[in-house]
Symmetry: C2
Subunit: 336 residues, 2 copies
């Protein structure tokens, strides 16, 4: 049995997303057991099928607007988020899924579940939709504003194994997010990292990936620091959303547009679906002792169940142990 802890109070929709998501996941996978950490009074009326689902009651929630994540994680030990993390730490569950506030999730994973001894940094790794329909891994997108080249290396190795085991990609290619395609482009750190990644034996390094290629990406994985990565994926999200709105405006602006829409409704829905993060699960947190997936804050039940599927695959593939076997010993990585 794969036991998954859910931060049931988390996210914009709280139990209205997490409870249906949990029920969908247990119906999809017969070897899942779920523990819902959250408000029992709110969960029970929604839990129409409690097979392989238990509840650990807590009314405390990590607010989406927490300004001081470290402090919040230390003080709100009885929050649904922290309780799920403690359960992971203590081996009561094998993994955690939450749609709580990103920085609190990263901090709680860090402070409670703890980093793997062979990883110096933790990375936030979303799966992003792509033109060709095949998702890509981009990391880090927000856990570290600055990195050393060895950290990019750790992330590249971790993501390579995750891409193989979770996404089923055979020999995943790794790219370095950079402002030019040739070697020698970017800041000092990109120049150094380019040379360093070339030397790593257990990744398939492609070279630089330019930001305009990320939506139609020549690699399966893109590594970057959390500052550059955050700018890239937030710009991508914002542009996709803004363009969707513009398209809606234009279609609504005339009768021709409205009639045309009736004919191409299905096409438009497929178009929307191609860029929809609901289909692809959440962001994985790499570098932690247990698989943790952070679903989108605005996840509905379907999106939340996709995130559960993702963490289920991570546990099933024994991802953490496979990564541990591939990472260089910490001493070697710290040589420079």
């Amino acid at each position: 049995m794969i036991r998954i802890g859910i931060d049931a109070n988390g996210g914009d929709l709280g139990v209205n997303a997490t409870v249906p998501g949990a029920m969908r996941a247990v119906s999809l996978y017969k070897d899942i057991e779920i523990v819902l950490f959250g408000d029992e009074d709110k969960i029970k009326p929604l839990l129409t099928n409690s097979e392989r689902i238990t509840i650990k009651d807590t009314k405390v929630t990590m607010d989406m607007g927490e300004h001081d994540p470290i402090n919040a994680v230390r003080k709100k030990k009885d929050s649904s988020l922290c309780m799920a993390m403690y359960a992971a730490k203590n081996g009561e569950v094998d993994a955690v899924v939450t749609s709580g506030p990103t920085q609190c999730v990263v901090m709680a994973a860090h402070l409670i579940v703890r980093r793997l001894p062979q990883m110096d940094r933790v990375a936030l790794c979303p799966i992003i939709p792509n033109y060709d329909g095949n998702p890509r891994l981009v990391l880090d997108v927000g856990a570290n504003v600055e990195l050393k080249k060895e950290h990019y290396g750790e992330f590249a190795i971790f993501a390579t194994i995750a891409a193989k085991e979770v996404l089923g990609i055979k020999d995943p290619k790794v790219g370095l997010l950079n402002i030019g395609s040739e070697p020698g482009k970017g800041r000092e750190i990109e120049k150094e990292t380019y040379e360093y990644l070339k030397t790593l034996p257990n990744i398939n390094f492609y070279g630089n990936v330019e930001p305009n290629e990320v939506i139609n990406c020549p690699t399966n994985i893109v590594v970057c620091d959390g500052f550059a990565g955050n700018i890239c994926i937030k710009t991508l999200e914002g542009t996709a959303k803004g363009m969707g709105e513009m398209l809606k405006d234009e279609i609504k602006s005339s009768l021709g547009g409205k009639i045309g829409y009736l004919f191409m409704r299905k096409n438009m829905k497929r178009f929307k679906k191609r860029m929809d993060s609901k289909e692809v699960g959440g962001a994985m947190i790499f570098g932690i002792g247990k698989p943790v997936v952070k679903a989108h804050g605005n996840s509905d039940g379907y999106a939340f169940s996709s995130a559960i599927t993702q963490v289920y695959k991570m546990v099933k593939a024994d991802l953490i142990n496979k990564v541990l076997a591939s990472l260089p010993a910490k001493e070697a990585a710290k040589n420079e």
Copy 2:
């Protein structure tokens, strides 16, 4: 008369874009004189109206794939790009427009026309389309991979005056590109810069702008270093293009889509136009002794004429002198 030097050989389309662009510009503005630096044999057949247009012959072109911009600028002094820059330096023209390779343009402006004494850095400042139809200035997007806080300040002041004089915005708001909206977000440089920009008397500082807001931007100006800015605008461009392609794919994929398109063709064209860089001119190069505009490499005649219009407004507004009057003396800026 406002005299504008054109790198006529530059860009993907060369004279096929620059010559029609120049003819359109002289027909729009009666006080423009244009000097076309380029291949006379190719220009003459296209120049159906040579009123206020002269040619300075050169067959040499700065290739789009130049790998060593500094070297290229030093060696190819007789290229159409460098000749236009020398003419600006020597006061034969008041400004330069080119759609040549970005890094060569920045280097040629830097090495030939030279920096303003009060500017420590040069910035590449494109005008980017926005959801509300009002263009925004984003700088730097590629001239400097790293900056000090005073450089952000110089750029903010320069862009404020340009937004007033060229775009006609009354009291332009300045934002700092950052990975969170609150103060204290980002790397050390963003934290420092946030505090520094707050103290500048001659800009209207708004605070942080998140990358997902850039397409629907709460400020008129966004300042950033060339690495972050390049990632942001290239992601924006790539996503807009990728989504356009996806939409085309989906529409073409069925009869319903094709019929629907017939009804909403006009709407779709307006949609496309809203994100089209052809409408908004090129990237301005700030910090140089003369106005220089770098048009998109793939500019056609219409786009190129928009870039000429833009540089024309910069000269007409006496932008450089207004900036010089607003910038702090160099000693003050270098205090830290």
